[in-house]
């Protein structure tokens, strides 16, 4: 069977550079792309860097894929800054939601959400708010903004557009080789 090359064809750092006006040198220097600890959120106009970083942590806890670096989650949540700039209702939904999550984290762990150490502890905090409009909005957006990134598809063994390659008629549409003989 023809397996899918899981390596992304894109250079994440170059890709992200296009989206951000200032990419810190440390991010460019790292071989694994941006991570949540970098200064990628410093150019945000409406949401604070801390809020955006909390959203990234939350995004990974909602859809944890250990083979995806933070850069994919950053790409998925970064547009909230622009949406909040355009719509005050979005801005307060996000700010109030993150403040509430941080408060719950402080009540239980004496730390803001993003600094709570273990995933299981953070997930327990998310479960407390999963019916809220804030969580549903973040989750409902993320299911598109994360999984609709073409760069993540190869990591899920999905090849995307095929017509320009002549479809799969000569590229393994019927190459399964492990089934019992019918």
């Amino acid at each position: 069977m023809r397996e899918v090359d899981r390596r992304s064809k894109y250079d994440r750092r170059v890709f992200l550079k296009g989206a951000a006006t200032t990419v810190p040198a440390v991010a460019i220097a790292t071989s694994t792309g941006l991570s949540v600890s970098d200064a990628w959120a410093d150019d945000a106009t409406t949401l604070t860097p801390a809020t955006l970083k909390t959203l990234v942590k939350m995004a990974r806890d909602i859809y944890p894929h250990d083979f995806l670096g933070d850069s994919y989650y950053i790409t998925a949540v970064r547009p909230w800054d622009g949406k909040a700039a355009k719509d005050p209702a979005v801005k307060s939904l996000i700010n109030d939601g993150v403040a509430g999550l941080d408060q719950a984290a402080k009540d239980r762990h004496k730390l803001p959400y993003a600094q709570v150490q273990w995933e299981s502890e953070r997930v327990a905090l998310l479960q407390m708010i999963e019916q809220t409009p804030f969580f549903q909005k973040i989750c409902g957006d993320l299911v598109v903004s994360l999984y609709n990134q073409k760069e993540v598809w190869p990591k899920f063994g999905y090849e995307g557009s095929s017509a320009e390659h002549g479809g799969y008629i000569k590229r393994g549409f019927a190459d399964i080789d492990w089934l019992p003989k019918a």
Binding site: V4, V144, Y168, G172, L179
Partner: protein, 522 residues
């Protein structure tokens, strides 16, 4: 290409250009009848289709505002997207999978066969299979359906091979690569399937039949058919005698136009078609046009549906090749011993990573969800589609508040599963899982129904005017020059995919309309 005057009262105006409207338009044009098709969507040609699920959805889907209610999960997960259908020239024949199956004999006689079922508004069709057979044959030839007319079946892809192997282990007998309106060899000026795998996003090779590049250009070539894209029908008008006289529509610029007509045929799919009749209420027809029975908008059916995805130890790559690549038909029979009447089909289905994330279990999150997503290349999948019970309370109404950009009330879709639908779905989930477990699935996922792709029954056919909206030719009981030409005519839904029956009815209706026009009956 023909261009007809707005005041030409000799034309047949068809609302919609999909399986029903597009076919009817071409058939009438071939017979020399002048036709104007009003299509709400744009004309997007084959080369403009995109192999990208969300981008294509934005390009093709009917995303105008609709509202929902009822206990179906779609109302919670997708409250403004009750149906996944298309707003473009070609209608949902751009998006359909291509499955082209005939009804079984008993599926035209559900009341006689199933008897009285509490809560179900069962009714026999005013036509029988024997009467439909020659029309089915014409439709199969027109569409180039595999395993008919000497056309070979399509080759099975990986997803089919998994389902086939499991089906054989379970002892299922009727298992094959389907009766598909997808060319297995070049035919009718269109090439053979390239196994591209984006059937739902518009076939970029044209191997799959769609009115967009078959019926419509053929009709246009006669000089008798004009298709007007971006033309949203607003209201059907009538004269003092109760005959319809034309259709008011919003043109590309949003300006209101009035196309006069000798005959009007409505083919806007089962949500928009009753909406248009209801929005055409007048002093003479206060409850909506052609609605003396009160049945316009009622008996909304969407098929019993669901999916089963299964994960294996090794790769499947289900997304490679034909989306609906094969079928198990053994459960399509009516065998009430299973705990429900009617039957269902099991058909392979594949969706890409973006839609899998959205539809596998809407709203789910956390590691159980991401674990399923990470098994994507090792997944096989099938769609379950069966007969659902028509219920009077499952219904399209006009939303009391929400209006479209032209100020017209939008459609509101109410749906509750009937207990028979639930029993059938549970049986189908169990059998679907068993198929995959028979060949080593490590986990199976029962997946809830997607927004409706098969929308049926809201202007049902009936022998007696009091029981339904149209007669056996799709002619409304109340208004003799007003016809319904889409799946909203269906008296009941049958187990199989509806398009072949819609096309067959449209060919037959064209014959009836042209004859009646010639005899000056309409």
């Amino acid at each position: 290409m023909a261009k007809f005057d707005l005041n030409d009262s000799g034309v047949v105006v068809i609302v919609g250009s999909g399986a029903g409207g597009g076919t009817l338009g071409n058939e009438l044009a071939q017979k020399g009848v002048k036709v104007v098709i009003l299509e709400a969507g744009s004309r997007i040609e084959m080369q403009d289709f995109v192999n990208d699920e969300w981008e294509s959805f934005t390009q093709l889907a009917w995303s105008d505002m609709r509202t929902t209610s009822g206990s179906w999960r779609v109302a919670k997960d997708f409250p403004n997207l009750p149906a996944w259908i298309v707003k473009a020239v070609g209608g949902s024949t751009t998006h359909w999978a291509g499955a082209s199956l005939r009804f079984a004999e008993h599926e035209f006689k559900v009341k006689s066969t199933y008897g009285d079922i509490a809560g179900a508004n069962l009714l026999d069709w005013p036509i029988a299979l024997a009467e439909m057979e020659p029309w089915y044959a014409k439709a199969e030839d027109k569409m180039g359906v595999t395993r008919t007319n000497g056309i070979a079946g399509l080759p099975g892809n990986n997803n089919f091979k998994v389902m086939e192997a499991g089906a054989k282990k379970l002892g299922y007998k009727s298992v094959h690569t389907g009766n598909m309106a997808i060319n297995s060899d070049p035919r009718d000026g269109r090439g053979a399937c390239q196994q591209i795998g984006f059937c739902f996003q518009g076939c970029k090779s044209g191997a799959k039949w769609s009115t967009l590049y078959t019926e419509i250009p053929k009709g246009e070539a006669t000089g008798n058919l004009e298709v007007r894209p971006n033309s949203m029908a607003i209201k059907i008008e009538h004269d003092a005698s109760g005959k319809v006289t034309g259709v008011v529509y919003a043109d590309e610029s949003g300006a209101m136009q009035r196309q006069k007509a000798r005959v009007v045929a409505v083919a806007g799919n089962s949500i928009e078609s009753p909406r248009l009749l209801l929005n055409s209420a007048s002093n003479m027809f206060p409850n909506g046009l052609a609605n003396s029975s009160g049945q316009v908008g009622r008996n909304y059916m969407r098929h019993m549906t669901g999916s089963v995805y299964a994960t294996f130890e090794k790769s499947v790559h289900m997304y490679r090749g034909t989306t609906m690549a094969g079928i198990i038909r053994d459960e399509a029979k009516n065998d009430p011993k299973r705990g429900f009447v009617g039957g269902y089909e099991m058909e392979t289905l594949s969706i890409g990573v973006p839609f899998m994330a959205a539809f596998l279990n809407p709203g789910a999150w956390g590691r159980s969800f991401t674990s399923a997503m990470e098994s994507y290349p090792r997944m096989a999948g099938m769609w379950l589609v069966g007969e659902d019970m028509p219920q009077e309370t499952n219904r399209i109404t006009l939303d009391p508040k929400a209006k479209d950009k032209f100020g017209m009330p939008v459609a509101s879709v109410h749906f509750d599963d009937h207990p028979n639908d639930v029993a059938m779905r549970n049986h189908a989930y169990k059998q679907g899982a068993a198929v995959y477990e028979a060949v080593g699935a490590t986990v199976t996922y029962p997946t809830p129904p997607y927004p409706s792709t098969h929308n049926l029954g809201t202007n049902r056919m009936s022998e007696k005017p009091r029981d339904g909206v149209v007669n056996k030719f799709g002619q409304t009981h109340d208004v003799k020059n007003l016809f319904i030409s889409d799946g909203s005519q269906f008296t009941s839904g049958a187990a199989c995919n509806p398009t072949l029956t819609i096309v067959s009815l449209a060919i037959r209706q064209a014959d009836h309309i042209a004859g009646a026009m010639q005899r000056k009956e309409i």
